[in-house]
Each structure stands twice: as C-alpha cells, then as structure tokens.
C-alpha cells in the first residue's frame, strides 16, 4: 500500500467533508432552534451564491458584495418569519416542514427570476489547482482555505449555542413554544436570529461551493449530501455536523479509491447513504445528537 497516496486521499476527503459540513450547519441551526428540517436550505445556498456572484459582476468590490448579500439574507429571514412562520406558530412540525418544501421551490424560482439561470464563474483569486506538497502527497490549497473558513464558523457557532443567553433561548424555543413564551422568550425575534444565521451560513457555503463548481442551479442539490452528514452527526449538534461531514467526505473518497475497484466504481455517490443507514441502525440520534428519551 502506498501510504503517501492514502494520506492524499484521506486529507482530500477530510477537506471535501468540511464543505459538506458547511451546508449541514445551516440545517442544524434551524433544526436546533425550531425542530424543523429546513428543506429550503439548499435553495438558500443557491440564492446567496447567485446574489453574491451577480453583485460581483456588477463591479461591486468583494467585501461590499459580501456585506450586501448578508443584509439581503437577513431581509429574507425576516420575510420568512413574517410570511411563513408566524401564521404557523404552534402547528405540528410536519406542517412547518411542508412549508419549507414550498419555500424551497419559491426561493429557487425567485433566485433565477431575479438573477438568472446561467452558470456563473466565481473567482475568489485562489487557484483551484494550486497544492501544498507534504512529502509525496499533494494537498489542494483551495480546500485548505475552505476548511479554515468552515472551522472558524463552527467555533463561533458552538460558542454561541453553548455560552450565550440567546443560545439557551434558541434551545428553549426548539423544545416548547408555549413554555418559551411563558418565560419571556420572544419567538419571533429568535426565529429571525436563527434564519438570518442560517442565511449567512448559506452564503459562506454558497461562496465556497460556487467557486468550486461555478454558481449554478446544481448548487441547491449539494444540500442532498447534507442529509447523510446530519444523520451521522446528529441533527441537533454543531460539532456533529462537522464530524459527520468529515466522516462522509473521508468515507466516500476512501471507499471510492479502495473499494470502488471491486464493485465497478462510482460508489462515491451512494456510499454516504449506506453509512447513514448503518448509523441509523446502531445509534438513531446520530453520534452527537441529543438522545430522545420518552417515558412510557
């Protein structure tokens, strides 16, 4: 066995896993704070990336474009709270979930209506093929930067949930709306916080994915990859989203390289779902998920 090659595949897998984690993070945020699986997260990634790239094309400098897109994502969050969530307070979670499916199509459509449906090149000034050399292994520079961004984001979000008053309020809202109101937690404000944060995470994911794949409609489907990540890591855990992403990224690359040959290749696409299925059988709440306890 060629260990340098193994290292290269392994690290490559970890780094691409970080990209999955980025998308999964958006899901976790909203799930933690409202118990809702936000089907529209992928569409939000697409919308954020499209907005950003079109602003760049208009000649707006990068930092300003990021700022403006963030503001737009916050406005989107406020609109979602006002138009979709507020009328559905205290409804069953499945109803909120259905609402996010509708939201998904709406945002996808709107993104392409407002901007357009062409493929846009997003150039952040980092050469995609530039690589570090470690011994005989090549590590993609771009992936390393993406990983650093994701790592920073995760650190901030973990601290936020763990140590802040709002973090605790978020978890309270996720558990019981009525009780949260009774201790003076304003549902609406909390929802705007969460959806804004999820929107900003979507922007980061959109920029990273967009510069790798080009900003195009297909970006909204990277959200699908987030599902096995979430099942493995646990829907309610920020670190879980990261670990899940790493496991998925690493697992699919290693499986492709070392097992793919025996079964005819292209197992990269379904391998994560297999892993997710395994986790579901052994530990249904995911590695870091909150254990669901039901008294009978």
């Amino acid at each position: 066995m060629d260990w340098w090659f193994f290292l290269e595949v392994f690290v490559g897998g970890l780094l691409s896993g970080v990209m999955y984690s980025l998308v999964a993070l958006g899901f976790v945020l909203i799930f933690k704070a409202s118990g809702v699986f936000n089907f529209a997260q992928g569409a939000m990634v697409l919308f954020a990336a499209l907005t950003f790239v079109r602003l760049l094309e208009m000649g707006i400098p990068m930092l300003a474009a990021i700022g403006v897109t963030m503001v737009i994502m916050v406005i989107l969050a406020i609109a979602i709270e006002r138009i979709v969530l507020r009328p559905l307070v205290n409804q069953d979670l499945i109803i909120l979930f259905m609402a996010t499916i509708g939201l998904n199509y709406f945002i996808e459509g709107m993104a392409q209506l407002v901007w357009d449906s062409k493929v846009h090149v997003l150039d952040l000034g980092i050469d995609e093929y530039d690589a570090f050399e470690i011994g005989e292994a090549f590590i993609n520079k771009f992936d390393v930067y993406a990983a650093l961004i994701a790592g920073g984001l995760v650190l901030v979000l973990s601290l936020f949930f763990r140590y802040t008053v709002i973090g605790r309020a978020l978890r309270a809202v996720a558990d019981d709306h009525q009780a949260a109101l009774s201790v003076g937690i304003p549902l609406r404000t909390i929802w705007i916080y969460v959806w804004s944060t999820a929107g900003i995470v979507a922007l980061v994911a959109g920029i990273v994915w967009g510069s790798k794949l080009g900003v195009q409609f297909a970006i909204s489907s990277v959200a699908l990859k987030a599902i096995p990540v979430l099942i493995i890591g646990g829907f309610t855990s920020v670190p879980g989203a990261i670990l899940g992403g790493l496991i998925v990224g690493c697992g699919e690359k290693l499986a492709e390289v070392y097992l793919g040959g025996f079964v005819g290749g292209a197992i990269e696409n379904w391998f994560p779902y297999m892993l997710a299925l395994l986790v579901l059988m052994i530990r249904p709440e995911g590695i870091f998920g909150e254990k669901i306890i039901e008294r009978v």
Binding site: I166, D175, S182
Partner: protein, 265 residues
C-alpha cells in the same frame, strides 16, 4: 395556617383588578360579567366544574386572552393587549396544566431559562465566557441553585427532565417559574395527576413560596381538600359566571356552590 391568618391585614392591596369582563370565542361565552380582585400576597384558588371558565380566567389574568369587554388593571394601570413574551417581564409567571418543560435540557438548564429575561446580552463577552458574560452566568447560576435547594431537587439538577417522574417535572416547572422572580404566580392545576405524597410536597412548596417570597399566587385546582387547606380565598366559577368569592369556609357552605358541584339547577 395560623401564620397565614396573621398576614391577612397586609393582604389588602389590590395588584390586579378585573372589572366586569366578557370573553367569548365565536358564539361560545367563556366568561360573562366576571369581576375579580387579586390582592397582594394572597393565595387565591379558582375552582368550578369542568367548562366553568377557569382556564379562560387564568389566561385573562396572564394576558394571553384579552376580553372583548371589561377592564383589566395591573398595579393600578389599565392593561391592554400585550405580546405573550412580555407577560413574564410584567412579573407574571405560570405553570401549565400539561407540563411544558424544555425536554432536551436538564432541570438546572430549565430553571436557568427562567433567568433569561433578567440577563444582559453581550454576545461577544458571553461567547468567550469573560467579564460580564461570566459574572452574570455565575450570578444567575447561584440564584438557580437557591431555587433548586428550595424545591429540594438537588439530586436531579443535571438530569434531563424528560427522564424525571411526573411529580418532579411539576416541581422543575415551578422552579422555572420562580426563577423569573414573579410578583404573581399562576398555577394551572399544580397537583393534577399526583399521588398523595407528591401533593403534600407541592402544597408545602406553594405555601413556602407565598410566605418566604411574598409571591401572590393564583391557582386552579380540582382537589377540594388542597384548595380548602392552602388558599386564603376561593373564587367559584360556573358556566362562565362567578357564583361565589370568599374564604374557604364561607364558600364551602354556600348553597350555589354546592348546587353547582352536585349538578343541581
């Protein structure tokens, strides 16, 4: 009991004055022409047969429902429609008939959420657990521990509440309400579904809260023994109308009340 009677004189200040309210849902009249005064420091029980409007009354007191007619005065000022999350800020806390706890959190964390509105927000300091963030977390933690000691739930403070027995969950819920340091505490059937021992404990806590913190308490309860034992005053509702209001002894002997409970008339 004797202790409570000595305090009666000081319990004359009215903190909530409800005048002649009508509340209906569509064609259904939930409360008609009900007037009620809540006096500072008292334990007031609202009783009545099923569908008498007790829960509606509690929701009017807390501000969740705004009656179509009539006036609700809180500490001498007329109160209009308020947002549900502002009720806690006014100094009114409550527990629910069906326990409404944050199931994913421990008992301690549940009680800490009750401190949320009293905490200052400084995201940056909080996240780094420094300065103000740290000081206030410690301060509120101390208060939460006091409540835990008071309710004698030290041994379960780190247990996720979903794992606790029913009586303990009720106690944690009371703790969360107390953490708000309310002036007025609303208890919606605090003893429902409890066994005798749990009921005795809960009675003791309700009385202790009233005596030690001077908290005004309004409770709905079906267990007549409990009601007669712990309340200073009892209000009886029947079909949305107030049919009696007075000390437990007085109310118990009123013919209207007996009729309502026995289903006469």
């Amino acid at each position: 009991m004797s202790l409570k009677n000595q305090n009666l004189i000081s319990k004359s200040e009215v903190i909530m004055n409800i005048k002649n309210i009508n509340l209906s849902f569509g064609g259904l009249k939930a409360l008609s022409g009900v007037s009620l005064q809540i006096k500072k420091g008292e334990i007031l029980a609202i009783i009545g047969p099923n569908g008498a409007g007790k829960s509606s009354m509690l929701n009017v007191i807390s501000g969740i429902y705004v009656p179509q007619e009539g006036v609700v005065e809180w500490k001498g000022k007329r109160r209009n429609k308020i947002a549900p999350h502002d009720i806690a800020r006014m100094g009114i806390a409550r527990t629910f008939q069906n326990i409404a706890l944050f199931k994913g959190m421990s008992a301690l964390e549940n009680i800490l959420t009750g401190r949320n509105i009293l905490m200052k927000r400084n995201l940056f300091m909080e996240m780094l657990y420094m300065g103000l963030g740290r000081r206030q977390e410690e301060e509120h933690r101390k208060k939460a521990e006091e409540i835990i000691d008071f309710l004698e739930i030290q041994s379960i403070r780190k247990t996720p509440v979903a794992r606790l027995p029913y009586g303990m969950q009720k106690r944690v819920e009371l703790g969360r309400a107390l953490a708000l340091e309310p002036e007025l505490l609303l208890l919606d059937e605090p003893m429902a579904g409890m066994n005798v021992e749990e009921k005795e404990d809960m009675c003791r806590f309700v009385l202790d809260v009233n005596e030690q913190f001077g908290t005004t308490i309004v409770l709905i309860e079906h267990d007549m023994g409990v009601v007669m034992d712990i309340s200073d005053r009892v209000v009886v509702l029947d079909y949305g109308i107030k049919i009696a209001d007075g000390t437990p002894d007085k109310v118990r002997s009123e013919k209207k009340v007996i009729d309502a409970y026995l289903g006469v008339g």
